[in-house]
């Protein structure tokens, strides 16, 4: 099993728990580092000990929100290549369009049911695992 280094950015404690639970249940050994807002995420990125393969980003967050973080990331020469997948409550078309125009690798709206969520995350991680293998 190839292991990914993932930066999970979400202010919601339970959302982060869900992600961990999916990894746990499926016995993934990815490295998941959590940030509860954009500012914290930037500081984690800038820590030379970290090197991320994938960023999973919530949009609606206090302090620095998802859009602001995304813009900042995509302007940074060092980190702009890291793929970002949005995981948001919003299913509005305008938010989706805004994200793609800045540059994201995927956009998921958070489902009501944990089962659905679990399926989405599993397929997402499987995809990026393979992707990582190829590159």
């Amino acid at each position: 099993m190839n292991s990914l280094s993932i930066l999970l950015i979400d202010d919601d404690e339970i959302e982060r728990m869900k992600f961990r639970k999916v990894c746990e249940k499926n016995q993934f050994n990815h490295l998941v580092i959590e940030a509860n807002d954009g500012e914290k995420a930037i500081s984690l990125l800038n820590n030379p000990e970290n090197s991320f393969d994938l960023i999973i980003l919530d949009l609606n967050m206090p302090k620095m929100n998802g859009f602001e973080f995304l813009k900042k990331l995509k302007r940074d020469n060092e980190f702009q290549h890291i793929p970002v997948v949005i995981m948001s409550t919003s299913s509005s078309y305008s938010d989706l369009k805004a994200c793609y125009s800045i540059g994201v690798a995927g956009y998921f709206s958070k489902p009501l049911y944990f089962n659905e969520y679990s399926n989405k995350i599993v397929s997402l991680l499987n995809y990026w695992e393979k992707n990582e293998l190829i590159s």
Binding site: I14, N60, T89, K110, L112, Y113
Partner: protein, 521 residues
């Protein structure tokens, strides 16, 4: 006997008196004859052909002595006055109107003193006791010694002119009264802008007295509106291409307060078309402008409030979704980890899930409802036949329900998503509430004047008439039906209103319901 004597005496006296009068008349007549002879000789000496004059003058002509006895009148004068000095002795005093008597005497004195010729206007009585206005121009006839001996004069009937003048004077007074009682300000100025006349409303408007305004120029009480439009209009007015225009203008009151007024400026021309004056009709619109501004402000405020409300609903529903999702997750984990729970607990878990689902549905509903009138995407031509086919394809329709399209549907202009929402909600509703073994839904459309009238008929449970209004309100679901948010019909109504249409229904309980709605062509 006594009485007879008295009578005889009286008769005698009367006879004596008459004799005296006759004698006096004889003397008078003789005098007049002498005077007449004198007159003729005087006229002859002056080289005037008296007879010729008499025949040729069309105007009324008369000659009097210095005591006012009328000696001669031409034919016209005789006809006009009804008097003939040949047959009766007439003095001007007898024919002058009592109210003009003083004026006549003083005029005559002045006339004798100045010996100059003036025109006098006065009233006379004709023989028929009619009152006539005449214009009289006398002059003196001098005798051989160079002393005045007679007067002669031409006079004209000016009764009609006087009457006309009186009428126009009355009319002017009436007009003045109208002007002064008018609620709009009216001001007359000459071409230099000097104020000549103003009415009460205008005086009150600027707080000046009539006299004060007469000293003012238009420029002192109003502002020259510098905008191009006004100056072009003013130019056109002066060049006679237009004769009035309306402009909103600022005025300055006595106290220096600036007032906005709607002003109609009109040019007044003389007979040859030259502009002599300008009239301004002025209406204070300060209050109206204030009102307008207030209204504008209110509208802005309302738009703002509406937006706030929409944003609020949006944010709230979004923010509600996250904890809801979390609760759902936590409940499912709890459920998983508590296999040993009693069947009662399992039932409660199911109920918990159901309620969470319901809440999710409601939140989605609010989001949908509040975004109906959000700035829409570009309007497109929508073929409703295709749209409805898509809707039926994606809607779960149980096998026992049949959907019939009764006619070919039109193509309308609108937003695809909204149209989808509209038809989907109505079709879903029809499907949802069918309780018969054989369900039928008929969709139809006819053209009525400017509108397409759609109908969606079902043979479902029906709706009691007392709920006809209520079902369109937000969160009004009459039956506890699974998957119903109670927002569907309020969204439908909002969309139809957005397109300036109407929605209504007919229904019989247990038989079915037909929803009708219109969309402009």
């Amino acid at each position: 006997m006594n009485r007879l004597k008295t009578l005889e005496l009286a008769l005698k006296k009367e006879k004596e008196a008459r004799l005296k009068v006759e004698q006096l008349l004889k003397i008078k007549k003789a005098e007049i004859e002498v005077v007449n002879k004198n007159l003729t000789s005087v006229l002859e000496k002056n080289g005037l052909d008296f007879k010729y004059l008499f025949e040729t003058i069309v105007d009324n002509y008369l000659v009097t002595d210095l005591f006012g006895n009328i000696l001669k009148m031409n034919k016209a004068a005789i006809e006009f006055t009804g008097f003939n000095p040949k047959n009766e002795s007439v003095n001007v005093v007898d024919i002058i109107h009592k109210d003009d008597f003083k004026y006549a005497i003083s005029s005559f004195r002045n006339f004798l003193k100045e010996e100059s010729s003036k025109i006098y206007q006065l009233r006379i009585y004709t023989k028929k006791k009619e009152i006539k206005w005449i214009e009289f121009k006398p002059n003196l006839i001098l005798n051989s010694k160079g002393e005045p001996e007679f007067t002669q004069g031409i006079f004209r009937d000016v009764t009609q002119i006087k009457q006309d003048k009186q009428i126009s004077e009355n009319q002017r007074k009436e007009l003045d009264a109208i002007l002064d009682n008018s609620q709009v300000g009216i001001v007359l100025a000459n071409t230099k802008g000097n104020i000549i006349k103003s009415n009460k409303a205008f005086q009150n408007f600027l707080d000046f007295s009539e006299e004060q305004l007469l000293q003012k120029n238009v420029e002192e009480i109003s502002f020259q509106e510098e905008d191009e439009k006004t100056s072009i209009l003013m130019e056109e007015l002066y060049e006679g291409r237009i004769d009035n225009f309306i402009v909103n203008k600022r005025y300055k009151t006595k106290k220096g307060i600036i007032i906005w007024a709607k002003t109609q400026i009109k040019s007044v021309k003389n007979e040859v078309g030259k502009i002599t004056h300008q009239v301004a009709v002025v209406q204070d619109i300060t209050k109206e402008l204030e009102q307008e501004k207030k209204l504008e402000f209110l509208l802005e405020d309302l738009t703002e409030k509406n937006k706030e409300l929409r944003d609020f609903a949006h944010v709230v529903s979004h923010d509600l979704k996250a904890p809801l999702r979390n609760m759902n997750t936590l409940v499912s984990w709890l459920e998983e980890e508590s296999v040993a729970f009693s069947s009662n607990n399992n039932k409660n878990f199911k109920l918990l899930h159901k309620n969470l689902e319901k809440m999710d549905l409601l939140i989605a509903g609010i989001l949908n409802y509040t975004t109906v009138d959000k700035v829409q995407n570009k309007k497109k031509n929508i073929d409703l036949n295709l749209l409805l086919k898509d809707i039926i394809d994606i809607t779960y329709v149980p096998k026992h329900i049949q959907i019939n399209l009764k006619s070919i549907l039109p193509t309308v202009r609108g937003d695809v998503f909204r149209m989808q929402q509209l038809f989907q909600n109505l079709v879903n509703n029809a499907v949802k509430y069918i309780d018969k073994k054989q369900g039928i839904i008929n969709i139809d459309c006819i053209l009525e004047d400017e509108f397409w009238k759609f109908s969606i008929e079902d043979n479902g449970i029906g709706i009691s008439e007392k709920y006809f209004e209520k079902i369109f309100e937000v969160f009004q679901s009459l039956e506890k039906v699974e998957g119903s948010s109670g927002i569907g019909l309020s969204i439908v109504k909002k969309i139809i209103h957005f397109y300036n249409g109407k929605i209504w229904l007919t229904s019989v309980v247990n038989k079915g319901t037909t929803f009708y709605f219109t969309i402009p062509k």
